[in-house]
């Protein structure tokens, strides 16, 4: 869930009444006193967040920035200034580029497939009408499965020689790939796991589809628009804000993919895992908590932050031009 939350903010920002709510209009008399009491109470109510923000967000960010410019000695708890060397390391360490490339490739593969599959399933359930609720429940079950359990199951299912998936393919005379060993098939394997649990995205699409006014389809049908035309001219524009939201959330999540890669490939510290499975978040984690190169890990984190910001920004720029908001003329 956590990575999904990140982008929620942006998508929501546009729609909330932050600004409106922020401008109080109050009757003049006794204003100063009442206002002060209310304001103090307000600050008290938000104080847990304020304290948490100062320590775990603002404080931690500054600390992280400082660490990224130093070599941290865990034994003495001392950060020795190191100038730009950690950032230079990002360029000089070839594995950073490898990890970045893997992650980028994964995101480009996973996000479109997840979107397409989720939208397809949502359309299917939306078309069924009655009975869709039961299917929605069944489709949602993988989403409830803990990722470790999913990984453990797929770890065996995807075994190239004895796994059930390749045994199943053999029935049809197909020799399946070495999913978790062959560098070409590592990312598709993880995408497969993601697709199995795609129902969160599906539920969001389904809610959006249900909100498309039925009349639009009827009018379009009368005008002779076929299913394909109706999909591209009505459905897609009408659900574009859900699409926009899902793309952003899934992209940010894809950039931070960790659990699956860690569980399938980097559990034990033997270095036998193929480099194709080295994702950015995994390498960052290893640098931080296996090698204890805190400075280098912090620098990696800031690079990731910048990349995610840029990608999200570009998506928002494009998105805002393509998204149709109702009541927005």
């Amino acid at each position: 869930m956590a990575p999904a939350l990140v982008a929620q903010a942006e998508a929501l920002m546009a729609q909330t009444d932050v600004v409106r709510a922020a401008s109080p209009t109050r009757p003049k008399p006794s204003r100063a006193r009442f206002h002060r009491r209310e304001a103090i109470a307000g600050y008290l109510f938000i104080s847990p967040w304020l304290i948490g923000f100062l320590i775990f967000t603002a404080g931690a960010m500054i600390y992280s920035l400082v660490i990224s410019f130093s070599h941290y000695n865990l034994a003495t708890n001392a950060a020795v200034p190191a100038g730009l060397s950690n950032y230079r390391g990002l360029v000089e360490d070839p594995r950073v580029a490898t990890a970045l490339g893997n992650t980028l490739f994964y995101a480009l593969l996973a996000v479109p497939l997840e979107i397409a599959f989720a939208l397809f399933l949502a359309s299917l359930l939306n078309g069924i009408g009655r009975g869709a609720g039961a299917f929605r429940t069944l489709y949602y079950l993988p989403r409830m499965t803990p990722l470790v359990a999913t990984a453990a199951v797929f770890f065996l299912l995807l075994n190239g020689n004895t796994g059930a998936i390749n045994q199943g393919l053999r029935v049809f005379g197909i020799e399946g790939p070495q999913w978790l060993v062959d560098p070409t098939w590592i990312k598709p394997s993880i995408v497969l796991m993601q697709l199995w649990a795609v129902s969160g995205t599906m539920v969001i699409f389904l809610a959006a589809l249900k909100n498309v006014p039925r009349e639009l389809y009827e009018v379009a049908s009368l005008d002779g628009a076929g299913p394909v035309r109706r999909f591209f001219s009505i459905t897609l524009p009408m659900i574009s804000s859900a699409m926009f939201f899902n793309v952003i959330v899934l992209t940010i999540a894809a950039f931070q993919v960790f659990d699956q890669a860690y569980l399938l490939f980097w559990r034990d510290q033997s270095n036998s895992s193929p480099e194709a499975s080295l994702f950015y978040a995994v390498y960052l984690f290893q640098q931080a908590f296996r090698q204890f190169n805190f400075g280098f890990a912090a620098a990696m984190a800031w690079l990731l932050f910048v990349i995610i910001m840029i990608v999200t920004f570009v998506q928002m720029r494009f998105g805002n031009r393509l998204v149709y908001y109702e009541g927005d003329r």
Partner: protein, 312 residues
């Protein structure tokens, strides 16, 4: 199963086909037969996907009952049912400890974050104070920050206050509210009529009473959504367990960390014997609480996702 915040109960239009039966003219209408074929295709596809989604569960159940050499095979019916797996697993792995630890942490983490987020959300929803808009913008902005940026400093904070190796780092930050849940609860509070609070105010209720006696009881549905989401998130949390508990004893692991450990323990490349049936039993046992949670809270999960995702 009508939605809390989504559209009406009326199923929307089909992208591919089909008005619902009652919409169709009695004698089939101009497109009657075509629609019937379409409906059949839709049903066949839906059932097909349902089987696809359920296959890993059925396979997991079967695998948990198989013997060592058979775990990998694709039959959904174990030749011989090795019920002993379910007995041995408790001896093989400290599974009870793992599940207990995960459960305790998940309860603390979800209650902590739900309460603190509600308090903060009420502050943002009800009171007017200078800088409110800016601060709430900041709340939303924190959701954009990748966890990796603060991962190392937060570790160092817990280290410096001497709480490494305890459970505290796994729920500590939850005591201070979480942006997404603050947002969710605030939206709910904003939907409550302000007159309710003014009335309580005239009756002499304190601000705290207004929150605790008026706002909270009314926001139970969204409170439950927060509890369920966070319980699931905590139950799944692998990375933090890796950071904070991996160095300790195996008994002290959480369930995700434990299963990761078991996957390695039985792996032939790490010197194991390939007794993956135990990993499968453990995976199943760790999955069941989530399925139970879903059985009771399905409405909240699905509507939570649909509404927060769509319009917040």
């Amino acid at each position: 199963m009508s939605a809390v915040g989504t559209a009406g109960p009326r199923p929307g239009p089909a992208v591919i086909v089909a008005p619902r039966p009652e919409d169709r003219p009695p004698d089939g209408g101009p497109h009657g037969p075509r629609h019937r074929v379409g409906r059949i295709v839709l049903w066949v596809l839906s059932v097909g996907f349902a089987l696809m989604f359920l296959y890993p569960f059925a396979w997991l159940l079967a695998a948990s009952l198989k013997g060592r050499g058979k775990v990998f095979d694709n039959s959904l019916w174990p030749g011989t049912f090795q019920w002993s797996n379910y007995v041995e697993v408790w001896r093989e792995l400290p599974l009870l400890h793992w599940v207990g630890t995960s459960f305790a942490i998940a309860v603390i983490a979800s209650v902590a974050v739900a309460l603190s987020s509600s308090i903060v959300a009420f502050g943002f929803a009800y009171f007017r104070f200078p800088g409110r808009g800016l601060l709430f913008g900041l709340v939303l902005a924190t959701m954009m920050l990748p966890g990796a940026v603060t991962m190392v400093p937060i570790y160092l904070i817990w280290k410096n206050v001497g709480l490494l190796g305890t459970w505290v780092p796994l729920f500590g930050a939850n005591l201070f509210g979480s942006a997404f849940y603050i947002f969710l609860q605030r939206q709910f509070f904003l939907g409550l009529p302000r007159e309710l609070f003014e009335a309580a105010r005239i009756d002499g209720a304190s601000y705290w009473k207004m929150f605790w006696k008026v706002a909270m009881p009314l926001s139970i549905p969204s409170f439950i959504i927060v509890l369920l989401f966070e319980f699931q998130a905590s139950w799944n949390n692998l990375q933090q367990a890796l950071i904070y508990l991996n160095a300790g004893s195996v008994e002290g692991f959480t369930a995700p960390l434990g299963i990761a450990y078991a996957m390695t323990k039985y792996s032939p490349t790490a010197g194991g014997q390939g007794d993956y049936q135990y990993v499968m039993v453990a995976s199943l046992i760790v999955t069941i609480p989530m399925l139970v949670l879903f059985a009771f809270g399905q409405r909240y999960f699905i509507e939570g996702v649909a509404t927060t995702g769509r319009k917040g």
